[in-house]
Subunit: 375 residues, 2 copies
Amino acid sequence: MSAVGGEPRNVRVELGARSYDILIGGGLVARAGGEIAARLPGVRAAIVTDRNVGGHHAGALAQSLEAAGIASTTIVVEPGERSKGFATLQEVVDGVLAARLERGDVVVALGGGVVGDLAGFVAGIVRRGMRFVQIPTSLLAQVDSSVGGKTGINTAHGKNLVGVFQQPALVLADTGVLDTLPEREFRAGYAEVAKYGLIDRPDFFAWLEENWRDVFAGGAARTHAIAESCRAKAEMVARDEFETGDRALLNLGHTFGHALEAATSYDSARLVHGEGVSIGMALAHRFSARLNLASPDDAVRVERHLRAVGLPVSVDEIPGELPGAERMLDYIAQDKKVSRGALTFILTRGIGQSFVARNVPASEVLSFLKEVLAS
Amino acid sequence: MSAVGGEPRNVRVELGARSYDILIGGGLVARAGGEIAARLPGVRAAIVTDRNVGGHHAGALAQSLEAAGIASTTIVVEPGERSKGFATLQEVVDGVLAARLERGDVVVALGGGVVGDLAGFVAGIVRRGMRFVQIPTSLLAQVDSSVGGKTGINTAHGKNLVGVFQQPALVLADTGVLDTLPEREFRAGYAEVAKYGLIDRPDFFAWLEENWRDVFAGGAARTHAIAESCRAKAEMVARDEFETGDRALLNLGHTFGHALEAATSYDSARLVHGEGVSIGMALAHRFSARLNLASPDDAVRVERHLRAVGLPVSVDEIPGELPGAERMLDYIAQDKKVSRGALTFILTRGIGQSFVARNVPASEVLSFLKEVLAS
Ligand SMILES: NC(=O)c1ccc[n+]([C@@H]2O[C@H](COP(=O)([O-])OP(=O)(O)OC[C@H]3O[C@@H](n4cnc5c(N)ncnc54)[C@H](O)[C@@H]3O)[C@@H](O)[C@H]2O)c1
Ligand SMILES: NC(=O)c1ccc[n+]([C@@H]2O[C@H](COP(=O)([O-])OP(=O)(O)OC[C@H]3O[C@@H](n4cnc5c(N)ncnc54)[C@H](O)[C@@H]3O)[C@@H](O)[C@H]2O)c1
Ligand SMILES: [Zn+2]
Ligand SMILES: [Zn+2]
């Protein structure tokens, strides 16, 4: 259990007129009303949450808002990726309009990445843009999806293909709410924490190797890991708000990971996103070693750490059948990170030395996949 | 019939990095490929159109694109306001994704305001923002909806409540395509042309009083009226891209107009938007005179001109029953231009001297409506 008192850590996302604070610490749901009222005086709110998270935390949030003079309506969606679709989008839009909220009012996302992406998109399009606050409740949402302004839904053609950039006015990462998060979800989110170390923060990765048990336990180490992750993402977002270049590094592990998610039909019983990313990061390091870009020792070190925390690092750990290498390559080529037909990967020269590799030959990827899937 | 040759007029919309040209003249559909390829080299395109417009002009457009090396898919929606809804939005999004267009590719709107608002919204959300070109084919779309970047759809809660600001990369207003536009639609669009004169261009209004027959006939006067209207709108948009202040003047005639559209259930057999605006402008001038803000002579002059071109200026001209004054006030209060409960109107001190009036007392509006509806 994280401490409820004490000042939260503050990570600022620098985006000119769209800059905002990420507050990280215990007890922030209970303080949300005050923090929001101080920044957005006079607003009314729609809280968007899912049934799981809402049951635990929506009452406390609504109370905190009310105590700060913010009237709110709560809109509850079903938990799970399915809610990131046109049907639920329309329902939430209708809920916000039915509450007669205006352009200056605020949509508050209380939940994991699903709720954040959905509610952020709603905030971006109702009355051509309302205000938006993120209260991420999964580790993944706290260190990744709530920061950076990417919002959206899935379609039959693929994940996250429809949405807008909608920066929040404030992010409140309450480290205490993670105590109700299922452990598998916490672990999956941890893959994204490790990712920041692997992208360009070798010291942070080394710190995680030493301190991951404390991060899982909660307290100061957890807060530090979340703050460091938010800082890493915030810097990348500030350099490239609309994802035209550098920000692609955040996809380390994701090209393989997304292909595995697609290959398992996004069936969370088999694989959740962070697990796919964990395997994907391990593969990205092995693939980089195979291309003589990095030492195989680094790949071993990455796998050792991910395994230690209980994350999968090999496709064999996914229950059930996987398609063959050719089909996996199709999934990779369909991934939206593929620009104009060329295969783009995030590869690495070692721990904390990743880079965007464009024009990776499909033949190299294919023979690597054959090896990986045969083993 | 407008001349097909000759250089088009160019009105520049100054929005910093989002600046763009509006080209106005004959034969622009046939020249679209070259104009787009010059500005957006290497793109592929999705043409969005409706059945009416598509039948006349989509073939010529696709041909022009092809000749310039731009591969295109055409997505056809049903004509009419109904297409501005979630169902059609999803269909068009799916069509663009099925064509495997990427973020750098372009959505081209070929149609009236319905197609422009819908296709612009699609361009704004597919892959979190594609490029967008407007080829407006109704007079209303050429002088109003295609300029300024407001896009969106309707919901059960009201019109245009969901959307984004998505500036086009280029607007091509082909004055020739207006020859296939039904005359009633042309006349309705003319109400918006007259509006620019009434807002802040008294000389333009006087010019229209003299030359409106030539505008209806086509040729140079039509091109001039469209260019002048685009310039007026572009200036207002440049001052206030996200509609937080000045841009509200563009709603002259629209508060009453929207209420009348709602009161007639958006039944275009009874009233189309421009007709509502025409009556709304006449009422805004009469209301201003009643409040001793403007001379009654100006209201008479406005009504005389609108009547001359064949536009309605009084609620009596709307076929069928209208609700009473109280109900009309409800429609006005529901209109999205109402900010935080205060009644906001665009009123005037005379021809070309309109202004934003906040906190107009509801009691004054009500007694004016009673008078208007009783007559
Ligand atoms: N926008 C971005 O930049 C970005 C980045 C990464 C991922 N994402 C998106 O994020 C989504 C995944 O996010 P996620 O992993 O948080 O999934 P999620 O929102 O589905 O949450 C995972 C599960 O945990 C539950 N949960 C969340 N917080 C809880 C809490 N405190 N207590 C109890 N239960 C809780 C949820 O109800 C859900 O069942 C994906 O849709 C992905 O596309 C977006
Ligand atoms: N985005 C904005 O800033 C803005 C501003 C004003 C109005 N609007 C929107 O614009 C819409 C109204 O636009 P509209 O009046 O153009 O309506 P519309 O698009 O429905 O067009 C009117 C009719 O004319 C037909 N048509 C259009 N061009 C034609 C042509 N060249 N030949 C033959 N038929 C043609 C259409 O098929 C339709 O039946 C409304 O939805 C309104 O909300 C938007
Ligand atoms: Zn991820
Ligand atoms: Zn209008």
